[in-house]
Amino acid sequence: MERLNRDAVIAITLLLFCGVFFWASFDIRTPNYGVLAPSTWPRVIIGVLTFLSLIYLVQSLRGNPETVTAGKSDREPGIRGWVDHWRNPLWCFGLFFAYVALLPVLGMLIDGIAFVYVLMGVLGGWDGKKPLVHAYVSVLAIGSMWSLFTFGLDVILPTGMFMDPF
């Protein structure tokens, strides 16, 4: 039952998404040249997507096993259980978000090393010699990649506020 509800929720979310995009398609300007208006193709896709989402919704409400996602969840109930279950991906998202947000400040080299170091610590733990090994691995990996792009491929990577004077 929980899975059927979940599929139905996804279908409704998709229908809302279609609604937002259909609404936004009215903001597309139509020039006085060309046969295919710029809004036509997106509207065709939105129409198809809406139709498919409706089928998906009906199937999930009917309990058609073909739409039910395979596999059983082994997590504990409640928000705490959910957070525990998705702990690692949530850390990855959060840290990557922080990594991109801090990029203009720290620059690609420092930010990249910090991101890899913290992520390894969070995913692998901080016990024993791990912090040292993680520091070595992150400096070596990101440092060599940064050098390859900066000196080998002549790509100007963000320097950040601290490295900017150099």
């Binding site: 979940r6 599929d7 996804i10 998709l14 995009f21 936004a24 398609s25 597309i28 300007r29 020039p31 060309g34 046969v35 295919l36 710029p38 193709w41 997106p42 896709i45 198809v48 997507l49 498919l52 989402s53 089928i55 998906y56 199937q59 073909e66 739409t67 996602t69 395979a70 998705w86 702990r87 690692n88 991906p89 990855c92 998202f93 990557f96 991109v100 990029l103 203009p104 690609m108 990249g112 991101f115 890899v116 992520l119 390894m120 995913l123 692998g124 733990g125 993680h134 691995v137 992150s138 990996a141 990101i142 990649m145 940064w146 390859l148 491929l153 790509v155 100007i156 990577l157 963000p158």
Partner: protein, 556 residues
């Protein structure tokens, strides 16, 4: 002419720089393919940012090398640990792992390596000979035909999602919609920018691909905290020496399996959406059916390694063939190759081989060279593989996430691309979790503008919609798109013995014959007659069986 092109391509690639890049590519591909959880597509997509500073010839040669290496890398993990490195080497474990456990890991690896080599070479020969012919056919396509070809590619990819076909179709449509964000190519009008300048340029196609495929895959690999901390093997030192001589002898004795499986691989590669993951199982199944000793399959026999390994290496020849001849990617890795070509301002299509012969032939030649390099590097990379397997998954995932950030930024020097990577990573991970296949979405992103441009061209010629059914190629692709869309339903209902499924195949044959007749000439009407004959024969057989499938069920 062909010889001149081959010589020009060899001239471009016959230098130390190119060889070094290709060797690194093959080595990287071998390792990426060998690590379970790291797919070949992920390896190829992560190579993309490194190639943008290279010439198209070198960049594509490097990517082809990664691809060839990745296709062969899966067998190392599959044979030595029983865990397939990639989905395309699943069937290799059926007999490869038992053979290794029976005390012959060197022979099992040797058979795997040489079968991969043979499959790769057969595929490369077919790629070089058939791609230009296919391109000639592609020149007959008009905008209506091209538009329907894209629709067919999306439909068949979605239908390969099997029981989740509706989710496959939704994923494909989402991919098409994502591609519409930003200025449209025909009129230059802003679409779905929601008032922000960043969205005006649309999402960078490569950032979307890396996010959807690599980023989401990495998150999936570290989802379970315990598994993330484990390395692939705790076995310590695996000391294996590949037994080349015995392997070659075993393969020569079973040359029919090599040829048949390679052809299965090439054919599967040509079908949009079908890839190595299907080809290796199909080839294994066919080898078992044709064998005089099917009961021995699964116990560790050479036939069970030769079939999947030669087929999965042959797949990419087929996928590249349709990409280079028609501009339609056969699978996700070919879609990334298309992205690489577009990044270098090269648009593949029927005229691609004629317009850019040196570049086209350099792709063919690099496929050949990489296959030979794979043979030589497999033994060396085996030692590296053993070391890499001792690294915990979380370390590999963290480093690669860091690389993704640098690589994606380097594409256009825009921070917005890293945001794109993040959001599409989240989207890809969520979609995987809810059982939505990503391949149709990726093809939707890749093919979205091709479909729209051809639709615009078709409507610019005439606003009449009847050419979609009166032009033979358009009708041909429309018919196979409809039949492929109903294929999962057919499979499901056939098991339940529904009456209509008896007429599915004969009806498909009769329907396909119609556009073949419309194409004119001599060969195609003859082919149409054969197809009708086959359909009629199927109908007659069903009637003889009392309108049942029974006789066929025995063979399936």
């Amino acid at each position: 002419m062909v010889i001149d092109n081959i010589l020009a391509a060899i001239d471009v690639l016959a230098n130390t720089h190119a060889f070094l890049l290709m060797a690194v590519g093959v080595a990287g591909g071998l390792i990426a393919g060998a690590i379970p959880g790291f797919t070949i597509a992920m390896a190829v997509v992560l190579t993309l940012p490194f190639t943008f500073g290279m010439s198209p010839h070198l960049g594509l040669a490097t990517m082809v090398s990664v691809l060839v290496g990745g296709l062969s890398g899966g067998l190392m993990a599959g044979i030595l640990t029983g865990i397939p490195g990639t989905p395309s080497s699943v069937a290799t474990t059926f007999d490869g792992f038992p053979m290794a456990r029976n005390g012959e890991p060197g022979l099992a690896l040797g058979i795997g390596v040489w079968s991969s080599f043979c499959g790769g070479i057969i595929s490369a020969v077919l790629l070089m000979t058939l791609a230009p012919q296919l391109a000639q056919i592609g020149l007959e396509f008009n905008p209506w035909g091209y538009f329907m070809l894209v629709i067919f590619a999306l439909t068949i990819t979605a239908s390969l999602a099997g029981k989740n076909m509706i989710k496959g179709l939704i994923a494909g449509a989402l991919g098409l919609l994502i591609r519409t964000v930003g200025e449209d190519e025909a009129a230059g009008m802003a679409r779905f920018d929601f008032g922000t300048d960043a969205l005006l340029g649309g999402f960078d196609f490569i950032a979307v691909l890396i996010g959807l495929f690599a980023f989401s895959q990495l998150l999936n690999d570290v989802r379970d905290p315990e598994t993330a901390k484990k390395s692939l093997t705790q076995q310590g030192n695996i000391r294996v020496k590949i037994e080349h001589r015995r392997a070659i002898a075993a393969i020569l004795k079973r040359w029919q399996i090599v040829i048949r499986s390679s052809l299965i691989g090439v054919f599967t590669g040509i079908l949009p959406g079908a890839g190595g993951s299907i080809a290796n199982i199909l080839a294994y199944d066919q080898a078992k059916k044709a064998s005089k000793y099917p009961e021995k399959f699964g116990t560790g026999i050479a036939d069970g390694i030769i079939a999947p390994e030669s087929s999965n290496n042959a797949v990419e020849g087929g996928a590249l063939m349709i990409l280079m001849a028609l501009g339609i990617p056969g699978d996700v890795t070919a879609a990334i190759m298309l992205g690489a070509l577009l990044m270098h301002d090269v648009v593949p299509g029927p005229s691609f081989i004629n317009d850019e012969p040196v570049l086209a032939y350099s792709i063919f030649i690099s496929f050949f060279i990489a296959t030979f390099m794979m043979l030589g590097l497999q033994s060396v990379m085996l030692k590296v593989f053993v070391r890499v397997t001792r690294v915990p998954m979380y370390v590999l995932a963290s480093i690669i996430l860091g690389f993704c950030g640098i690589g994606v930024f380097a594409l256009q020097n825009v921070t917005f691309d890293i945001w794109t990577l993040l959001w599409f990573g989240v989207l890809g991970f969520t979609m995987r979790h809810f059982g939505f296949p990503l391949a149709p979405m990726i093809l939707g992103v890749v093919l979205g503008n091709i479909a729209e441009l051809n639709l615009a061209r078709a409507l610019a010629i005439t606003t009449d919609l009847t050419p979609f059914v009166t032009r033979p190629w358009s009708l041909f692709f429309m018919i196979i798109a409809v039949f492929s869309a109903f294929f999962p339903l057919f499979q499901g209902h056939r098991e339940k013995k529904k009456a209509w499924t008896l007429f599915y195949l004969p009806l498909a044959c009769f329907a396909i014959a119609l556009p073949l007749f419309m194409m004119g000439g001599t060969f195609r009407p003859v082919l149409a007659t054969i197809v009708i004959g086959f359909g009629a024969y199927q109908l007659w057989r069903r009637r003889q069986n009392g309108w049942r499938f029974e006789a066929e069920e025995k063979t399936i």
